[in-house]
Symmetry: C2
């Protein structure tokens, strides 16, 4: 902990301790906001922190690279963990309490239980990443007990993840209110993501084609096109022309669901996942 001592912030590693801090705040009438993260913070995360700070008396950020939401072949080992920088960013933003548990604190020996949230977790990210949402739902279930906040803040970039957490909250009667905050983008439109750091310079340039393809969908719809197949074709042409061949999915779903539509007839989320080299990027945009 010596490297952290220069930062004026409460860094708590014990589940019992963070729980006591949150309960004490609530007992004294304070509202508590919670921003669960895997660290490697960017302006997307920090916008969630800002939203919580604006709405709640106390804001708790957790930094935990949750192993159970990674598949064996995924990037758990190389996932960035710039802890000191993260704490510095949170301090500058005015967040005073950060929960940084070890894997052993979150998953003591003998832990085996898991949560399945059902059909909302099946398609798209759930299909591409088996067990991913089981890992997300399980760790979020645990974090919501350990940090019994009034409100939780998630980013809309992970659209399906937000739906999974909403389903979890509703199905298990969890006493927390979900806030889903807008996507924060780089100047060229690329959605901010901790995984963007994996991109080599030429891939980083290509990556903006994801956002461009979502804008193409928006513009096509604004020009009167409602046929999803036709819009997808335009998007795919653009992605291919930018050198992105490995598209996991382009999906048009009714906003707030994972229900695919064939015609844009109301608020519709266009979601996309593509691979650039070893990196996998996702993005989405609401049209209609």
């Amino acid at each position: 902990m010596s490297e952290l001592e220069t930062i004026s912030m409460h860094v708590i590693t014990s589940a019992e301790e963070i729980c006591a801090v949150v309960l004490a705040a609530k007992s004294s009438g304070q509202s508590v906001g919670f921003v669960p993260t895997m660290g490697a913070l960017h302006e997307g995360h920090l916008s969630l922190v800002d939203a919580s700070l604006a709405e709640c008396d106390l804001t708790v950020v957790s930094i935990f690279v949750n192993p159970t939401q990674f598949s064996p072949e995924e990037d758990l080992e190389k996932y960035p963990r710039p802890l000191q920088r993260d704490l510095q960013l949170l301090t500058e933003r005015g967040c005073e309490i950060v929960f940084v548990p070890t894997a052993a604190e979150m998953y003591p020996e003998g832990v085996e239980s898991t949560v399945e949230v059902g059909s909302v977790a099946s398609p798209f990210e759930g299909a591409s990443r088996p067990h991913h949402f089981q890992g997300v739902a399980t760790v979020v279930s645990k974090l919501f007990q350990v940090v019994p906040a009034d409100r939780a803040y998630f980013g809309r970039k992970d659209y399906q993840q937000a739906l999974v957490v909403v389903q979890l909250i509703e199905d298990f009667n969890l006493p927390i209110t979900m806030r889903v905050c807008p996507i924060v983008r780089e100047p060229d439109g690329l959605a901010m993501s901790s995984r963007n750091t994996y991109l080599r310079p030429e891939q980083r340039q290509q990556a903006s084609a994801l956002w461009q393809s979502l804008r193409i969908a928006e513009q096509a719809h604004a020009a009167g096109e409602t046929d999803v197949a036709a819009i997808k074709k335009k998007m795919m042409q653009h992605l291919n022309s930018a050198g992105i061949e490995n598209v996991d999915y382009i999906a048009f779903v009714t906003d707030g669901t994972v229900q695919e539509v064939e015609t844009v007839a109301g608020p519709t989320v266009v979601a996309i996942a593509a691979r650039l080299g070893k990196s996998r990027l996702i993005d989405n945009h609401t049209i209609g």
Copy 2:
């Protein structure tokens, strides 16, 4: 609700309302005990109520025949639901707050999430009743959110169920303390169970052989026998001689686990399940 109005007791059917009542009690410094039941109350349940009343300022009993813990071929439809009698018994015992949700209150349309607790749920009851413990763990997870009590009271007759709930509490960091209370027996030793009412008179007589077989195990061990196979043989002989042929399992496990042993070398739970006609009875006893 008119039939309930003669009973001086708070019968609450809304999850939101019971949660508010419990939180208000806790805010005012009261400790809260929770006894989740499926109704058809007997002295076993009432001993849990007594334990909670003795230890907690406020006791909440829930009565909910949870559909998700029954298999399609099981006795959900015919499970006894003597609600008025249950409320009368609770009133006499001094319990003032009963939560009686409908299935729609606990499982609104769209609910899909489930909890799996892992290996503790696999053998014995888990093997005989697929999905049973998934249903138990899921409804207990929900009930613990809706009734955020300090302590939960379960009976030791459902030994493996108690282990499942302990695992659930530990794995999901649930802020509740588990109390497992002793088995309550009829004068002839039959463990009290709401399902005993299914037994026809001759089956009811036979049923005491379960307890007798557990006593035989205890006595054999007291006389120096430690070999589990030898003790099981004596138990089975007794059960067969009483006309009980359909034994699901006799298991010797280290107390507090579902780990089977071949030799009694310390505190050991002897668990038994058998079918008498259409009824399935379980019991257990600790020896060693």
